[in-house]
């Protein structure tokens, strides 16, 4: 299933699990590739359940939040749910500065996040 360069993917039941492989998501090119790979993975799935794992990511630009917004709208457009986990303090700061820590459902790690889907 791993035909992707920027993301590692898995499926737990109907939940799409996406792990961002890059340590740094700062460059527009990297971001565009992540965006394309996520779009390819989710395809036309309507309101999928998605878990985003940031545990590999050390640095992230605020432009990445744009992608998370897109995902949020795609997921909640149907009956899907979006969860995030493994967010390091430096990256949490990006969420906090933009108030988005209050929009997203953020959890410690993948098991904790998966438990909230039930």
């Amino acid at each position: 299933m791993d035909q992707f360069r920027r993301i590692q993917t898995g499926k737990k039941g109907d939940i799409f699990m996406i792990l961002f492989k890059d340590k740094k998501i700062l460059d527009d090119t990297v971001l565009d590739e992540i965006r394309a790979e996520v779009a390819q993975l989710l395809g036309k799935a309507s309101g999928p359940d998605v878990l985003l794992d940031f545990s590999e990511v050390d640095f992230m630009s605020s432009a990445m939040l744009g992608l998370l917004g897109q995902l949020h709208r795609k997921v909640s457009g149907g009956k899907g749910r979006l969860r995030m986990c493994g967010i390091k303090p430096a990256i949490f700061q990006v969420f906090k500065l933009t108030n988005l820590d209050k929009l997203f459902s953020i959890h410690k790690d993948a098991p904790a996040a998966l438990a909230t889907f039930t």
Binding site: L26, D28, R35, D58, F59, S61, S62, A63, L65, G66, L67, G69, Q70, H72, R73, A90, Q93, V94, L97, T98, N99, L100, K102, L103
Partner: protein
């Protein structure tokens, strides 16, 4: 020359003297293939023994060899009455004309310069075998005096032998000349090709340079449009001391700011930060800017004409809600923006403001006390449809300062990717008390740029400072 490969040259007994194993093998194979019987010796001395053992029809000898050179071998053959009528071909890499004289003196009949075409050598062999040397020719050998390259040589040679050798030398020269002409032609073709390629490169280069100039012009024009979103350099409003800095990290930015009067008593102020940088972010910034204007006639969402003809100022919460409605999430680009928008009532010092995912403003109280952060709840604009924006108020005391900024300030990273941070930002602004607002803004920008050495900030840096002095 090929027609000289007559039946007379077929199936003769050839003796080769050649010290190079590889060259000897190649020549041997070539001659064997042509139907000749071939013997091969590694030097002139061995070759002479072989020739005496069985008289060959023709001898081909290298010049540079150990033990006995080609000249020695040739002289020995030509002074042996039993062997001296055998045609003798010298092979040489040497190109000095003196070599030819030495060959003539040694009694060689023919001269072939290495590298040679095998067919050429076979042609020389055939020609020599077709005109065998008679004893009488050898008998009339006389001492000839030759002058070459300013030197005089005495050479003992028969007429036929001298003629053969000189003709072969001439033919050699003609063959080499032909090769040279072919090489020259090839060179000329290659040169034409190079010239064409070069011309193509020159014109491509001109095209790239033209496109580059065009792009730079376009970017400059776009940057100019973007600068129209900013306050005048010497912006001045009654009862306010204003300073600002705006440093895009590329020629086009997603940041912009402004401050301007909305009506007789109120001033609108904001910092906007569109996600990303470059052209897409800049285009969105310009589009957003069209709505954030104090001109009633335009598409402003900040002010409108009331029924009584007076200007109605929209509340900051309404402005944020309106912006969020206008900028429906763009599924393609994923662009969004943050904003801190405030309306300052100048007579009272009351500031109403809203944050759309934007970092909190910093207040430096005139009365002393630590810097304060004032933020409000609200997601970035164009992020989630139909959200409520919390409006907050702050009443300034005379001499109070507020600073708005983009996240490029606290998030500026040093070489170890450590962010500059809100604390250092606040204490830098705190340190500017007593001096002009402009000095405070300038020192914050300096501090951020110093923090980001040696690479400089990776994000746009925008700062707006205001002191209220009624």
């Amino acid at each position: 020359m090929a027609d000289l490969t007559t039946p007379a040259a077929k199936g003769v007994d050839v003796l080769i003297a050649e010290d190079s194993r590889m060259q000897g093998k190649i020549l041997q194979k070539r001659l064997t293939d042509a139907g000749h019987a071939v013997r091969w010796a590694e030097n002139g001395s061995l070759a002479l023994d072989m020739a005496r053992e069985r008289r060959p029809d023709i001898i081909i000898s290298d010049i540079e060899m150990p033990v006995a050179t080609g000249y020695d071998f040739c002289k020995a053959v030509k002074s042996d009455p039993a062997l001296r009528t055998i045609p003798f071909i010298l092979l040489s890499t040497l190109a000095d004309p003196i070599d030819i004289i030495r060959g003539l003196d040694a009694g060689a009949d023919n001269y072939v310069t290495k590298p040679y075409e095998p067919d050429y050598l076979l042609g020389r062999m055939a020609a020599l075998l077709a005109t065998p040397l008679g004893e009488d020719d050898l008998a009339d050998a006389t001492t000839l005096e030759v002058s070459l390259a300013g030197q005089s040589f005495k050479v003992r040679a028969g007429r036929q032998q001298a003629l053969n050798l000189l003709v072969s030398t001439f033919e050699n020269a003609v063959a080499k000349n032909k090769e040279l002409m072919v090489s020259n032609q090839e060179l000329s073709v290659a040169r034409d090709g190079l010239e064409r390629t070069n011309q193509e490169l020159v014109s491509l280069n001109a095209e790239i340079s033209r496109i580059n100039t065009q792009m730079i012009r376009d970017l400059e024009a776009a940057a100019k449009v973007q600068r129209s979103l900013l306050p005048a350099d010497d912006v001045s409003l009654p009862s306010l001391d204003i300073a600002w800095r705006y440093v895009p990290c590329q020629s086009l930015a997603g940041d912009f700011l402004n401050i301007f009067p909305l009506d007789d008593e109120r001033v609108g102020l904001f910092v906007v930060d569109v996600s990303g940088h470059g052209v897409p972010s800049s285009l969105m910034a310009v589009t957003v800017g069209r709505f954030l204007t104090a001109k009633v006639a335009d598409s402003s969402i900040l002010v409108r004409q009331g029924p009584d003809g007076r200007v109605v100022v929209a509340s900051p919460a309404d402005v944020a809600t309106q912006l969020n409605r206008l900028f429906q999430a763009d599924e393609f680009s994923g662009l969004y923006f943050t904003i801190l928008y405030g309306v300052l009532h100048v007579p009272s010092g009351r500031l109403d403001y809203v944050c759309g995912g934007h970092p909190a403003l910093v207040r430096i109280p005139a009365a002393g006390g630590p810097p304060e952060f004032h933020g409000a709840e609200g997601f970035p604009i164009a992020f989630v449809p139909e959200v409520v924006y919390e409006q907050k108020s702050l009443t300034l005391s005379p001499g109070d300062r507020i600073f708005l900024y983009s996240d490029g300030v606290p998030e500026a990273m040093d070489k170890d990717r450590e962010p500059y941070g809100e604390e250092k930002m606040a204490s830098c602004l705190d340190g500017g008390r007593g001096g002009p607002v402009d000095a405070s803004v300038a020192s914050l920008l300096d501090a951020v740029e110093a923090w980001c050495q040696p690479n400089g900030p990776l994000d746009d840096v925008t700062i707006l400072g205001i002191e209220w002095k009624p």
